[in-house]
């Protein structure tokens, strides 16, 4: 069932404000926003919002038990309708990315569940989900090997690149690539791409994304230190 959501057309002001296309939209995080979970965060990149929640390490069902490591489980809930195959694909991508980041060897025979609720999808939803999952894992104090941060780059027809694209940029673009980096060496962890692009475009997008990811990681550090040190 392909119901569609009626979305307000993006403010004309916002379009005009975005002078150069290499701008990361304003980010807002709310750590520990929910009470029943071990870790929770509501992250907004511009107006794109997603809520991520972590339970773990916790009890695992016997059929999913792994004797030497924790079982990482990702559930992604779309806002409209029941979960479809494309959401299962997104869950798989998230699971593969986060399994590398989480130090699962420290918690054998347990489970770490990450649940993400799509709250508002106004462009670069996948990177918002990955970033919010990482923040939720940090909020839950799950042992990790490194942090992960994602940035989306859209390539337009005239080979212009738009960083952190809005919905309109994504639909009009020739290709959209989400780059996921680790925090230690800023190496590429995951690439999710749609559409056609040349090798040169990919490399340009990669260097742009790499620069942008530094400020995302800095945002994580600031959010966590603000919460832990209780100082501005």
């Amino acid at each position: 069932m392909s119901s569609f959501t009626v979305v307000k057309t993006e403010d004309l002001d916002a379009e005009q404000e975005k002078g150069s296309a290499c701008v990361l939209r304003g980010q807002t995080s709310d750590l520990g926003c929910l009470t029943r979970q071990d870790g929770s965060v509501s992250l907004s990149q511009g107006d794109t919002t997603s809520i991520a929640v972590v339970y773990g390490p916790a009890e695992v069902r016997i059929n999913k038990e792994q004797i030497d490591r924790a079982t990482v489980d990702v559930v992604y809930r779309p806002k409209v309708g029941l979960p479809r195959p494309e959401h299962r694909k997104q869950e798989r991508i998230l699971k593969n990315t986060l399994e590398a980041a989480i130090a699962a060897n420290l918690h054998p025979r347990s489970s770490i569940s990450i649940i993400i609720q799509e709250t508002e999808d106004l462009g670069s939803n996948l990177s918002c989900c990955i970033n919010s999952s990482c923040l939720a894992l940090l909020d839950a104090a799950v042992s990790m090997n490194f942090m992960v941060a994602a940035v989306t780059v859209a390539m337009k027809e005239n080979s212009d690149m738009v960083l952190d694209p809005m919905k309109r940029d994504e639909t009009e673009a020739k290709s959209v690539i989400t780059y996921v980096f680790d925090s230690m060496k800023l190496q590429v962890l995951t690439i999710v791409s749609n559409g056609k692009f040349s090798r040169a475009e990919y490399k340009r997008g990669l260097s742009l994304a790499r620069e942008a990811v530094k400020s995302v990681l800095q945002f994580y550090r600031e959010s966590m230190s603000k919460k832990l040190l209780m100082s501005e």
């Binding site: 009626v6 806002k79 508002e120 400020s215 600031e222």
Partner: protein, 403 residues
């Protein structure tokens, strides 16, 4: 995951407390928790907080065929998702009994009350009509999901705008958002559900039970009303018998609550409308106040990439052999990182022990000096190996760990 069961002493305590006309969170028997209603940037997206219980509702629409039995009406779907996010005991997939009960109650409240004008959703009788879908996601379960969900659903329906449709003879045009402004749904009235929890065979009654009170209650009554004193839904669950006077009293209490909540909904809708008209920023991102320690805000950041560098690297990488091409993307970066190492002073404590960064000896306990220094220094050395190549605030991170 199984939920932690409520212990017997907790159960007894809560029941005794209620018998003394008191509640755990200090409310009166007929008090609601703090209610906050917020709307997102998308139309028809509503987020409601009732105390700590949080629910997100989204309304969407699509054109489809009307039901065979009602060719002049549109179709309304109501779906309540008890996502595993809300509570560790909620399982993904199969709907639990509780989920089915909630879904049914929400459906009855919205459909049987005829709050939404279904005939206005008809486009071509018998052929095309609007299918409106309300998805309710429970984000956090701290008791009384039902009331929260009904408030969210009604607010979302009132907030939603569907595309405008014009019919010229045989031709139907569904206008895009740029073409014509979207049209609100015609909502006749706002039916809201109010839950009552009963204890000691109906002797004590509480409005808006919290999660602990829900676990201890003997029976529940749900009253669906609108502010015009019209009763739409009534359901009693649990093993208890109620007197006629109790039912009537509950409905009059429900009336006062519903009137107040309807006012709140209208206020929130107005505020959102004003914000949209003035072109002010609105939506969920704006709700987070920067004052709290757990909230952080970063304004738009510009990312500067040296375009000259990229072209040089590209030429280099293109000229290199095919084998090394996959790694060349990473190599230039690594070179850059190694080229500018962090200049930090290493302090030598004793033979074979080096200290880097801030920290120092433990100020907590009176440990003999030599031991504490050695253990602290060993820890730091270990961290050094891990953080050698880490950019940014490695020192900050050390502060947090070692203090």
């Amino acid at each position: 995951m199984r939920e932690t069961p409520l212990s017997n002493c907790e159960r007894e305590f809560i029941l005794n407390f209620i018998a003394q006309q008191k509640r755990l969170d200090g409310r009166n028997a007929y008090d609601y928790r703090d209610l906050r209603i917020a709307f997102g940037v998308s139309l028809g997206c509503c987020h409601v907080e009732l105390g700590k219980t949080r629910v997100l509702a989204q309304v969407s629409c699509e054109v489809g065929e009307p039901k065979q039995t009602r060719p002049h009406d549109g179709v309304l779907y109501v779906n309540v998702e008890l996502s595993p996010m809300a509570c560790p005991s909620f399982e993904q997939g199969r709907q639990s009994e509780e989920g089915i009960e909630l879904s049914r109650l929400m459906e009855r409240c919205l459909k049987e009350s005829r709050c939404l004008d279904m005939e206005s959703l008809c486009i071509v009788s018998g052929e095309k009509a609007w299918h409106v879908r309300v998805d309710i996601h429970v984000l956090n379960h701290e008791g009384n999901i039902l009331d929260c969900a009904s408030i969210a659903a009604i607010s979302a329906l009132a907030h939603f705008r569907r595309p405008d449709v014009s019919v010229h003879g045989e031709e139907i045009t569904i206008h895009t958002l740029e073409d014509r402004n979207p049209v609100p749904l015609s909502l006749h009235h706002m039916p809201l559900l109010v839950s009552f929890a009963f204890f000691s065979q109906g002797k004590f009654m509480l409005v808006d039970p919290s999660s602990k009170e829900e676990k201890v209650m003997e029976g529940k009554m749900v009253v669906g009303m609108n502010k015009h004193r019209e009763l739409c839904t009534l359901q009693v669950t649990g093993q208890m018998l109620l007197l006629k006077e109790q039912v009537l009293r509950c409905s009059s209490i429900a009336l006062t609550k519903v009137t107040k909540i309807t006012e709140l909904i209208h206020e929130a809708l107005d505020k959102d409308k004003q914000a949209r008209l003035k072109g002010e920023k609105h939506g969920f991102a704006m709700l987070v106040s920067g004052d709290r320690v757990t909230a952080n805000r970063l304004p738009t950041t510009e990312v500067k990439v040296d375009t000259l560098e990229i072209s040089d690297e590209m030429e280099r990488s293109q000229s290199s052999s095919e084998d090394g091409e996959s790694q060349s993307g990473n190599e230039p970066m690594e070179e850059q990182i190694v080229a500018t190492p962090k200049e930090s002073a290493v302090e030598i404590l004793t033979k074979g022990v080096g200290v880097i960064g801030e920290g120092g000896t433990s100020t907590w306990l009176d440990i003999p000096q030599a031991d504490s220094k050695q253990t602290a220094a060993k820890k730091r050395k270990h961290k050094l190996e891990k953080m050698e190549e880490d950019e940014g605030s490695s020192e900050e991170e050390e502060k947090v760990i070692l203090k």
